[in-house]
Symmetry: C2
Amino acid sequence: MQYKAIKLVKRPGTQITPDVFETVMLETPELAADEILVRQTHMSLDPAMKGWMSRDKDSYIPRVELGAIMRSSGVGEIVESRNDDYPVGAMVGGLLGWTEYYVGNGKGLRILPPGLSPEEVLCVLALPGLTAYQGLVEIGKPKTGETLFVSGAAGSVGAIVGQIGKAEGLRVIGTAGSDDKCRWLEDELGFDKAINYKSDNLVEQITEAAPDGVDIYFENTGGPVQHVVFWRMNAHGRIIVCGMIADYNTDQPGPGPNWLNVIRKRLTIQGFTMPDHWDNIPKMTEALVAYYKAGQIKYRAHTLQGLESAIEGINLLFTGANTGKLMVEL
Amino acid sequence: MQYKAIKLVKRPGTQITPDVFETVMLETPELAADEILVRQTHMSLDPAMKGWMSRDKDSYIPRVELGAIMRSSGVGEIVESRNDDYPVGAMVGGLLGWTEYYVGNGKGLRILPPGLSPEEVLCVLALPGLTAYQGLVEIGKPKTGETLFVSGAAGSVGAIVGQIGKAEGLRVIGTAGSDDKCRWLEDELGFDKAINYKSDNLVEQITEAAPDGVDIYFENTGGPVQHVVFWRMNAHGRIIVCGMIADYNTDQPGPGPNWLNVIRKRLTIQGFTMPDHWDNIPKMTEALVAYYKAGQIKYRAHTLQGLESAIEGINLLFTGANTGKLMVEL
């Protein structure tokens, strides 16, 4: 059977242009012992992909080699199997890549909990949900009554961070890039305050929203918000650095804040990426399913149609034009 | 009996000028119940004093109030006592202040271990030694074979950080402000490499000294060294932010490094100040005495004479003109 896949054939510059990808037609092989064939139904697009494609050989996860199928996480159904751990009909999630079909021994794929749609899996249990939980709960160690500030709050990670924050009894403030997104955060997700970071009076709005300062800052964006929030951190504040999307598409990353306040406020600034924490997935999945079933995590999906829509669609993440968790339905 | 003390009467601007202090003559009072009279013999001058005097009301320790005796740590002998916990003849250390005599109930003062000179106490066991131990060992959690980079390595904290690093089996690299200080660090204290940060080829020298990158960065200075070392941190590196002396005497602190590398290398940047860790003093003192008795901590003192020498002398810390742990002998 023939199927489409997309390979990375060039490293992108500051922008991801269509010529870095090449669509190829492949043929499903005869399965070897232990192998499975998965039909991918939904494929996730995430900001981290920019780093995976980049020139940087020295990052937290091996870069995608030129000529290899582009890396991504996704959800699919096992349609053939020569591996008893992965029965036909089961839904699996993991790094399936930009392809209609996955062929392999299943290493790294997990069988998904029953009763959840592919969309629910990608929006709540996939990389963004795991990232939100690991960062906020395991690293940030939130305490009831603290104030949490989330940049990129309408993004796939930020929206879950804020909702876990509310579930854990925090005051939650977020920034997003449009008034519509801010309304969604406040009206649907229960944020205490959402601020459009493109406002003229950003400093005043943040100061007013956090009159008692910020205890936990979950950083997804970098940019001007960072400097305003940094100087409003309370003593023993924790800054969890998850993303710097404002700097992913620039050659000249902006300066960070001076560290005098790191001493004065005894701050901890900690960066993390998920490959260090795969071992924690069972615990995180259980916690996320519990929040979701209790109605504490809602989401909005932005679904593109067909494998090749990813080629242009990925850039929606960097312009902020996506209106929810970005994914491709195959 | 009459004695001299020095009060803080103005808040300094970017420079500490003599007019912010006022020398006064005081009379030792009749002791009340529980009070002791301590004759201070040696008084420590430390960079942190700049912050204690400053306008900033919102810092990690209450600022020195105008009209109060200037705060400092020191060593002295109990010459009168109405407190059984503090017998006459015992040596005590603690925040005695800029004064020839201390009168009070002894709260916060500790009886010093026997067999150490006042100079040894101030150079090894006082604030700088405690700060070095808390930062490097308790926060940095060094592992044998790792590479430690210390800025301000010839300073009272930095020199001890580097020596504890050597005692714990680390490769130790430091920066200092003169070739003489660098020779002292390498020849006397056993640093693997000391670099004059005023060199033209700072980047090349640091790169060459740390070919395998830096695992622990103990930051005392800020300034250009920070940016060079930050981008050479290894995965899971720890940055301990103890001082930013390059920025203490400026109105416009320089920019910090962009946080992209915090994510990519999963760095932890942690600030600390000692008042959060007073409870740990007995353990730290024991550890420091053990290093010292094993010959693993050496020091160089820079001793000024007479209480009023502190007024001009404190600025030696900010020009880097002191040639060892700065103190005043009374």
